[in-house]
């Protein structure tokens, strides 16, 4: 899953079968540091509770559809959670690798 920021809503009255009642949101994909990366996308909101401004995580490809109530639907990006907190303090990165790494 990747980070995303909800930046808008999309309303479509006529939709493909199975997408009825699914909320569509505009999301800006983010990198690991929660900075924008790539173009905005439209995601189906599998939590049904996300809204503009929120930091979320999303799943893409075929797994997106599996997050929705009807599994066999045309969706390739779904919001699967709303993020309360990311604890990625710098010292985590500075820790020495736990694996030995050798090249010969």
């Amino acid at each position: 899953m990747k980070f995303g920021r909800v930046i808008g809503t999309v309303v479509a009255t006529r939709k493909a079968e199975g997408l009825e009642g699914i909320k569509l949101l505009v999301v800006q994909p983010l990198d690991e540091h929660r900075q924008p990366r790539g173009d905005p996308q439209i995601a189906a909101d599998a939590t049904a509770q996300a809204g503009p401004g929120e930091l979320v995580f999303m799943v893409g490809s075929r797994e997106a559809a599996q997050a929705l109530p009807v599994v066999f639907v045309p969706a390739d990006l779904a919001i699967t959670g709303i993020i309360d907190e990311v604890d990625d303090r710098p010292e985590f990165r500075k820790r020495e690798p736990t694996a030995g790494w050798t090249a010969s």
Binding site: F57, Q66, F92
Partner: protein, 90 residues
């Protein structure tokens, strides 16, 4: 699969049912020299990994569903191992 480094914890209260009770970790993908890259995943942990650990990550839906015993399952990235040793030759 790829080798990554756990660089954070992700906390979420409102999430889909497939993720209930599962620990989510932020994993940076490492290159073959063990350096951090721009790629990352928010991954489900099934091996009690923690920040700083070098881990093995699968990013594929069918494998994830099998490990987590979910069907359907809207999860792709799962930490499936803690790496002890990487040895490259040639």
């Amino acid at each position: 699969m790829y080798i990554g480094k756990v660089v954070g914890n992700v906390v979420s209260t409102i999430k889909i049912s497939h993720l209930e009770g599962r620990k989510l970790l932020l994993v940076n993908q490492l290159d073959l020299q063990g350096n951090e890259t721009d790629d990352y995943d928010i991954a489900v942990d099934v091996v009690q990994a923690g920040p700083g650990d070098t881990v093995l990550v699968i990013d594929e839906g069918n494998g994830a569903r099998q490990i987590l015993k979910l069907d359907p399952g809207a999860i792709r990235a799962v930490i499936v191992g803690v790496v002890d040793q990487v040895a490259l030759s040639g």
